[in-house]
């Protein structure tokens, strides 16, 4: 129940709020490329793949970010390799790798039958359990991903918009794709602790979709989408506190509600201006 009107007096809430803003902005930023590359399924898939790594980290008692991080990078590299063989599509490659990885996690859980609480956190997020050191790690990951994408942004834009011409112009589209999928895997890793395996994809997909309705320029999209992601993170955290609902779910539902408002607003505007 609500214990106080101002949640900011609690350290756990301040940590959670900062983490939600950081992860919201990060997912919104990376999500722009995910949505434009029609890779929305991959965020969902990588989150499930990370579950295998998260469970394994708990089983062998190593740090989540290290264990699940190595696992996520391996899963991302595997998806990239299979997809680029072109015998099967990227969606099929994601399906094979990520569900197998998730199944490994389930198998380990059923064998060990412990750390149930941690598994629940991995599945549904544990934003209120974020520590100061978790925050630093998330901030470092956000900075790394942001800088990584800034460095390859032009190549990434060209290979997203027009891959064949980009390749002809000397851009290594294969390498660009590979670097991007690794950065995406790291993003999903940072977000899983907060939003959980089941809800990460929504944070990656919904903000850029909303932003897409609001701008026609790619560069504006790169600014607007992270702002929407951060805003949904912050509003979702407060709503979660006052309504006493799961934080991860509230963040995603806030984004979904905003999407609905924008969609309805634009539909009405179109109807009235037609």
């Amino acid at each position: 129940m609500i214990s106080s009107f101002n949640p900011l007096q609690y350290e756990f809430f301040r940590h959670g709020l900062l983490a939600a803003i950081l992860v919201g902005a990060l997912c919104g930023f990376v999500g722009v490329y995910v949505v434009l590359r029609r890779m929305s399924y991959i965020g969902h898939g990588l989150a499930h793949a990370i579950f295998g790594g998260a469970v394994l980290s708990l089983a062998i008692n190593i740090n989540f970010f290290i264990g699940a991080g190595i696992w996520a990078l391996m899963a991302a590299a595997l998806v990239h390799l299979i997809a680029h063989r072109r015998l099967v599509g990227a969606d099929a490659a994601i399906g094979v790798v990520t569900t197998s990885s998730f199944a490994i996690g389930v198998a380990i859980v059923s064998t060990y039958r412990r750390f149930t609480r941690n598994i629940e956190a991995a599945l549904f997020g544990n934003i209120l359990g974020i520590t100061q050191s978790d925050l630093w790690i998330i901030a470092a990951i956000a900075l790394l991903v942001f800088l990584g994408i800034i460095i390859i942004r032009r190549q990434l834009l060209f290979s997203t918009f027009d891959p064949e011409v980009a390749s002809a112009y000397g851009i290594s589209t294969g390498w660009t794709d590979f670097v991007f999928i690794l950065l995406l895997a790291i993003t999903v890793l940072a977000s899983t602790q907060i939003l959980g395996v089941t809800l990460v994809a929504a944070a990656i997909v919904i903000p850029p979709v909303i932003a897409r309705y609001l701008t026609r320029s790619f560069h504006t999209l790169l600014i607007v989408s992270p702002i929407i992601g951060a805003l949904c993170g912050a509003v979702g955290m407060f709503l979660s506190y006052y309504l006493d609902i799961s934080s991860a779910a509230t963040i995603v539902l806030t984004a979904a509600a905003l999407f609905l408002v924008v969609e309805v607003g634009l539909t009405l505007r179109k109807a009235f201006t037609a």
């Binding site: 434009l36 460095i151 390859i152 032009r154 190549q155 834009l157 060209f158 918009f161 027009d162 064949e164 011409v165 980009a166 390749s167 002809a168 112009y169 000397g170 851009i171 290594s172 390498w175 897409r212 701008t215 026609r216 320029s217 790619f218 560069h219 999209l221």
Partner: protein, 288 residues
């Protein structure tokens, strides 16, 4: 050129017309020892099999060439092979005397078919044209003030001034073609490839495109384009290659556009006649 080509002219020796604007020579062809582009007995295609076979073509600096042929005849495959995005299974492609691989092309521009563009992609006219500067893997290259000046000069040249912030879908067909041409030109190419640049354009837009292409060709840029409209090619372009999996013929339109060559190229009967000095090609109605 394949041995069974309809021998029309040899561009290098200058027997016959090659100059983009009607003279007997390409820009300095006699002085050019190495062709700008040499396609030497190339066979190329996809996993399902070869699309073009034993194709040999030489393109000289400043040349302006149309490639015509039926759907599936290999026009786009030929362009992709030149670009290095498809690796030939036989023969070789050399640009400025050097073998071509994807990304090794340097000063080359490419304008894809407009129908291959994702028109829902959130991108403005300016953002599209600036991509012409994103060559190789210059990760940290910044867009400089000089680049911006060149961008705006290019947009003025292409009659796109004031449209830079518009979404590409908001332009007319001719303006869209101009925007992608601007992207190709911003890298200062000496060879531009265009895949069906007039597809879907009205007569006025097609006229604008060809006018601009002639203008840049005058500045020494070689151009290879694919086209379906034989009358447009005959009216505006100085050199044509008929392709249907192999090169059927090449030369000036009046020499190449005859019933025999077109029958072999399109596997169908066509009527060719002259009207006020212009070559006209029409389909032969089934009832005749």
């Amino acid at each position: 050129m394949s041995p069974d080509h309809h021998h029309v002219t040899d561009p290098h020796t200058g027997r016959g017309s090659l100059h983009p604007h009607g003279s007997m020579e390409p820009h300095g062809a006699q002085l050019q020892e190495v062709p700008l582009l040499e396609i030497d007995h190339v066979t190329s295609g996809y996993e399902t099999g070869p699309v073009i076979q034993d194709v040999s073509i030489k393109i000289w600096r400043g040349q302006f060439v149309a490639v015509v042929g039926p759907n599936g005849g290999g026009k786009t495959t030929l362009l992709r092979t030149i670009l290095g995005t498809i690796r030939p299974t036989g023969g070789k492609v050399a640009l400025r005397g050097q073998p071509v691989t994807a990304g090794s092309l340097g000063r080359i521009g490419f304008v894809p078919q407009l129908e291959t563009i994702d028109w829902n992609f959130p991108i403005t006219v300016e953002e599209v044209i600036l991509m012409g500067l994103y060559r190789k893997n210059h990760w940290l290259k910044r867009i400089t003030k000089e680049d911006r000046v060149r961008l705006h000069e290019m947009m003025e040249r292409l009659n796109l001034a004031g449209l830079g912030k518009r979404h590409i879908r908001e332009l007319s067909g001719g303006q869209q073609q101009a925007a992608f041409l601007g992207r190709a030109l911003l890298g200062e190419p000496d060879l531009i490839l265009l895949d069906e640049p007039t597809a879907g354009l009205d007569i006025r837009s097609r006229d604008n495109v060809v006018h601009f292409l002639h203008e840049i060709n005058h500045q020494g840029v070689a151009i290879i384009l694919t086209a379906h409209d034989l009358n447009w090619v005959a009216a505006h372009l100085p050199w044509v290659i008929c392709l249907n999996r192999r090169v059927i013929a090449e030369g000036r339109p009046p020499q190449v556009f005859n019933s025999e060559v077109l029958r072999e190229t399109y596997r169908g009967e066509m009527v060719v006649f002259q009207h006020e000095g212009m070559i006209m090609v029409g389909e032969r109605p089934h009832s005749l």
